[in-house]
Symmetry: C2
Subunit: 342 residues, 2 copies
């Protein structure tokens, strides 16, 4: 055990529906000593992600967290002890830190990324210049494959992933339409993230007509973070050979038993749609490719982003719960120690 007292958030019960703060508990023990080849990080920012709902739910998931375990999350930290010549004290590392104050990196067994703070703020390494940006990049460009002149519809359009999708699509010459959950976010989508149109899906009982009006040439790519009834409606507006990127299912609270929706296969057949699931981890070997483009666009002033930063590890569960009520206005981070770069 190291000298460092490590507070961490553990999962004490799996979620049947949306996450609640009672599912988590904060405990304190000592951070482990790094073994040979390992590195000890002091974490600075960790994240709360919409996808965490799935990680802690009863249903099968690609990244399930067991009860009793430290809650998984992305994070960025600073090297404070190194038993590996490739890592120098003071370097910044983004990785799956979990919700805790200190993390061990074993570079042989874990995915990590060194963060160069010359390229942008440290916190952005967990957002636009990190996983959110990568998610938008690969989901849109590799799965959605939009062509210049096409119409791209995005759900949670003002969120950290959605806002990047909209801006990347615009850079690729597409018309962009965003779905978001408040009039305030509609403004944000249009004014900061350059959407041609944005719609407050909570502010209309004619959503399908509103979408159709904003997409007079139909929809070629739907980048979907929510699923549910909106997805059902959108399928009927897709153009021939349209693509639907399934990146999240935030609109559905629980999957056990699976809820019902409109049968989808007729739209898929008649319009030769491609509906494809996308999980960022599958692209982990290609992150540098995304970073290169995103840094390039960012440094030219072509990209905006927003973040919400909660203070203190103990507020991570609440920050997560807030995501599902739409209270956040940007990439949700939790600051677990002072950011030495600001």
């Amino acid at each position: 055990m190291s000298q460092y007292k490590n507070r961490r958030v553990i999962l004490i019960e799996r979620a049947k529906a949306l996450p609640k703060t009672e599912l988590f508990s904060v405990i304190e023990d000592h951070a482990p000593e790094p073994s040979s080849g390992e590195v000890l990080l002091q974490n600075i920012y960790v994240t709360a992600d919409p996808g965490m709902k799935g990680w802690i739910s009863n249903a099968k998931n690609y990244a399930s967290v067991e009860t009793g375990a430290t809650m998984s999350s992305f994070g960025v930290g600073i090297v404070i002890n190194s038993n590996n010549p490739n890592f120098v004290i003071g370097e910044f590392i983004a990785m799956n830190t979990g919700w805790q104050e200190y993390s061990i990196l074993n570079p042989e067994t874990s995915t990590y990324r060194k963060v160069n703070i010359d390229n942008g703020p440290l916190s952005a390494s967990l957002g636009l210049l990190g996983h959110s940006g990568f998610t938008a990049y690969f989901g849109l460009l590799h799965v959605g494959q939009p062509k210049s002149g096409e119409t791209v519809l995005v759900s949670t359009a003002g969120g950290s992933v959605g806002s990047a999708v909209g801006q990347f699509a615009k850079i690729k010459g597409c018309k962009t339409v965003g779905l978001t959950g408040s009039d305030e976010k509609v403004e944000l989508c249009v004014n900061e993230f350059g959407y041609d149109h944005a719609i407050n899906y909570k502010g209309t009982d004619q959503l399908i007509n509103e979408i159709a009006k904003c997409c007079p040439n139909g929809i070629d790519v739907y980048y979907d973070n929510v699923g549910g009834d909106i997805l059902d409606s959108v399928l009927s507006l897709m153009n021939q050979n349209g693509r639907v990127v399934i990146c999240g299912t935030a609109a559905t609270e629980g999957w056990n038993p699976p809820p019902k929706g409109l049968r989808f296969e007729r739209n898929v057949l008649v319009n030769r749609l491609r509906i494809q699931g996308f999980i960022l981890f599958d692209y982990r070997d290609k992150y540098e490719e995304a970073l290169k483009d995103i840094y390039d666009w960012y440094s030219k002033g072509m990209l905006n982003y927003r973040e919400d930063i909660a203070e203190g590890l103990e507020n991570a569960p609440q920050a997560l719960c807030n995501l599902y009520s739409g209270l956040n206005k940007g990439r949700q981070l939790i600051r677990v120690s002072k950011d030495p770069t600001i």
Copy 2:
């Protein structure tokens, strides 16, 4: 007008659910004279296809038939009059003949295919060596993209398309499992079409378990001609990066309003599934590629097929209706004039 009295089947009312014979009427007039560049065919076989349900329904379709018009269908005929030097009397042509005794081919505006009867029976040019085979070929190999060793599940496994899918998948080194509608067809699937397993979906109330038992390594490709509840069940058995080819929706009677089913997007996301609609017409420029392979396999004795031939044009509507009650045992054809090759 030509000298030839032409009987044809017209659509008198669009279908709200499954096709009925009352929606059609047989009328008689004279076949038109071929204009310059055109060719007159005497039709020999025309087809009844599961997809016709969609062509005559109220819902949007890729190949809608208007009321008052001759029912669309594939067919094969013999050239009996030619105003085009590229077409010789006595040649066989497969094209969209419609349900009628004579058809005009304008090679400038219509898709057609010359049929070489050295390659197999004339009737097979509408089945395994024609559209059924092409549908199986492109849907499986271009959309489903099975790899050797993978498990391919096929619905309507004993039908003209399904039986070809199963055999092509086997040729590509896959394990094949078929879903079909009677014990008799289960035998056919295993004994004639080489499926590793076949399941009578009407004979079990444990379909999902039966499928799981026959696919111990999960399902990599589902070639689906039916949709509906079976599709919902299969989605939960798909392997990571699995592909679902949506080639037909025979299990659903009507789409207006669309019926309900289980929400699908969670399976798509978690297992990174690709669900893709497939319509043969999109591949019309590549038919020769398919023919080359299918002829090759057929000539080596690697492929079996079955056909049901109804006698006389007037029986076409009934032959169509029979498809939806599973009465046919192979590619459903209607012989509208004597086959001169047998």
